[in-house]
């Protein structure tokens, strides 16, 4: 006999929430990844795309990165140069402009602070001094739900 469970729809909702969250997350992080990569060295487009899609959790199709690179180029953060190739179409190499590098540093700092704060949350020290009268925040009692 099969026992029907009520937590099916709830799991689906949680899954959907997680999917949306990862999409938002990727959108934000992908610019950082590209600028970080291009700040340190010049990349051949194909190799850059392959490297980016290999980052765990980035999870975008290879073809989606080119529009992103094009946008960054239009914004003056990335520059390109073409190099003739005897094996096929000319190869396009990408690198970050000074503005792009500056932005990458700023984004990295910001991301690092976020990360620290995030880890602080886990350690329970991140919110010290933020609560009224130095009181410890009330514990969340899982069993109450």
């Amino acid at each position: 006999m099969v026992v029907m469970s009520d937590d099916g729809p709830a799991r689906a909702a949680t899954r959907e929430l997680f999917e949306n969250w990862t999409v938002q997350m990727r959108k934000g992080v992908l610019d950082l990844c590209i600028l970080r990569a291009l700040s340190h060295m010049e990349w051949y487009g194909y190799a850059l795309v392959k490297a980016l899609v290999a980052i765990p959790g980035v999870g975008v199709a290879e073809g989606s990165i080119y529009p992103l690179l094009s946008r960054l180029k239009r914004q003056g953060l990335v520059t390109t140069r073409l190099e003739e190739s005897r094996e096929g179409p000319a190869r396009k190499y990408y690198s970050a402009t000074p503005e792009g590098r500056a932005l990458a540093r700023e984004m990295e700092t910001h991301f690092a602070e976020m990360q620290r704060g995030f880890q602080g949350l886990q350690a329970g020290s991140g919110l010290t001094g933020l609560t009224d009268g130095g009181q410890t925040p009330p514990e969340i009692n899982d069993s109450a739900s």
């Binding site: 487009g45 975008v60 290879e62 989606s64 179409p89 000319a90």
Partner: protein, 863 residues
Amino acid sequence: MKQWTHHAEQRLVEYLRERVAREGLVGEEAEEIKADLRSHIHEEAERSPSTSIGLMELESILGRLDSGYVPPVERPPVRPRKGGAFRKFLSWTFGVVMPAAVLVFESVANFCGGVFFDPVPTWWHVAWIALVPGVNAWLLTGGRGGGDRSRGTAAGFTLVTAVFYGLLFLPMIHLSVLALLIIGMGLLSLTPVFAAITTWRIGRAANSAAGSPAEFRAGWRAGVLASLLVLCVLEAPALWTRANLTVAAEDGAGAPAAIARLRAFHSERVLLKACYEGNRGTQLGTDIAGWLLTGWRIPAAMIDETAFRSLDSEKVRDIFFRVTGVPFNTLKPPSSARGGRLSGRGDPLEDIEFDDHLGGDDVAVRLKHLDLAQSRFDGHIDAASQTGYGEWTMVFKNSSGEPKEARCQVRLPRGGHVSRLTLWVNGEPQEAAFSTVSKVKAAYKAIAVVQRRDPVLVNVVGPDTVMVQCFPVPSHGEMKIRFGVTAPLDDGRWRLPHIIERNFGTARTLEHAVWLQGSLPFNLTDGAKTHAAQRDGDGHSLPVTLDGTATLRAGAAVVAGPLPAEPAVVWCEDRFAKPEERFLVREPVTKSLPAADRIVVVVDGSGSLAGFKEPVIRSIREAGEARITLLLADDHVRPVGLKELGNHAFTGGRDNEAALREGIRIARETGAPVVWIHGPQAVKLSQSEALMQLLERGTVRPVIHEVEAGSGPNRLAEAIFRSGCLRSGPGLAGSGSALAAFLSDLTRPREERSWNWKRLPAAPAEGRQTWDQLARMWAAATVEDPPAAMTDAARAELAARYQLVTLFSGAVVLETKQQYADHGLEQADGNASPHIPNVPETSTSLLLLVAAASMLFRRKRHA
């Protein structure tokens, strides 16, 4: 590098196009992304284990590359429908073969163009239509070398063309079907209708076969829009012109506005074609725009004949002038783009032409195959009598299969009269008979129009203007005529006669061979060029060959000089006078003329005056604006100041009748002279009787000085010059200084030279003998002197006796003596006709002196 299959390459192109469209990218950005993706895909392909890249390999790469990728749906193969072969036959027949054949036939034969309307008036139309069979054939063979979008674009483009022509021929479908059933013809006019249906079916089939119907439809929409744009460019100006022309010709309240719209924008080709329509009583034989406005009435015309009400051709020609400022017959008559080489039906080299003005008083329509082929002018200037005589020989050539009448208006030297007329009949020169205008016209019409034999007629039609007409210029043959002109020198100048209106063209090789001679040195000025006469015996001569356009333009003139300030007393033996009056003496006298307090200046607002605006304004300012009443002839009459005159846009051809009437009315009230500054006036008068009444009645006869800005037909001057009120003023060429001096002179007392004539029974002791042209000058002055107490019949008789074409007399050459006798005419004696002296003529007295000296010398030797 790996090999790609054709399908894979094509698929990649389609994918990239679809991908950027999906991303919403356009322009440079889209191209960049396409290049990036293409490069990426090529890298992937190079890394794949396959030796070559086919569709499957590519689809696999695309699947990895693009998360939103949907592979194309495989369409099930279309099963051939029943009767497919027959359908294919019909598609090829009516979509390709027949449209191409009909286009070629119509282009060569102008068959439809000569009867209903010209469906291919320009080469652009030919190219536009030729795309229909071309594209249909391409689509029927699979549209190789193009994608879905380009196939769609081609199908949409040609569908508009095919449907447009299908609709054009739809109104005559019943006639076509009847013709097909009864006489087996009619397929020509049915083809465009069938082609429209077939083109639509071919396009639909191509859409069904398209790999990407969305692409095909996008292309189809672009093609339709492009073809509509072509249609607008080709036909919208014509339609606009036709629509406004119809309103303008109806003479309703909207006519002036329609003419103003046409002045702003019009198609000259369409206006000119409309001038030549209506000769056959219908508007058929028109162009596409004309057909669009009238073709739909065809079914009604089978029941009601009045459904095809033609526009009045005369009115259309007036409108042409009002809009363009140019008389319609100064331009080459319209012809189909391809020349209509087979449309003569019987003769493969000519168009059918209707000349319903044969033997008439108007020059009217230009004939396509009639040309002035040769031209020769011989002139002699006599300094003593200050007169000139010239003979213009013209050879007309007719390259059509029908005999034609050549008609032209010729502007003579100022104060000139035709004094000789010759026609070559069977190679022999025949001299004219001079008689009353009615007699010579009746003889010409009887011989030319009824008997269709050889006459030539010259009569006066305007100030210093004669109409010359000769018939028949034989089919594929020539006709040679010559007329002589006697005219006084005008301030030392003798303007060469030129044609101002004609119904013929000029041969491409036409030259105007001019021979001039005179007793004193002289020059021939022709625009900026001056040709000086050379010493020739006792006199001077000048042979010069001018280009053919010299026969048509004003400006060439003989400038004699220097002449004595006071002309000498001269005399001649008058062979036409009674013995007791045999010797005619001319003495110069001066006449005092009073100053005018005011001057009425009427300025023609036509485009022909545009180039003379500044000189006219400057002349009026120099003469004193305060003394001048300025009227602008702008179809209506507008009293203006110099500032308004300066602001006026001189465009089109403006009717001067209203302004001139107002000018004459003011002149009658104030006694002021009228100075009428004008260009050609090719508009018929609307209220000629009212104008003539103003000129003929009352005790004050107004004086109108005309100042011509450009040579051309002038209906208004033709109407009023018989009243004797019209005087020739200065020319308007150059800076206009002559006009300024003329206007200033009118406002102060001045002296004018005149002549006193005396007759004696014997040669006078004093004065200088001169040629007998002097007698003709006397006769012309007497005949056209309004105060002279002579009846019209007496004037005509006097003019005829002196062999002069005047207001009261004309000249006609007939073929046989019997014809002269039948019409009560007496052919001029060839010996009495004026002639050009063989060499610069020594005076008769000098000849007598030489003869007497020779006799004396011989007697002395005998002694």
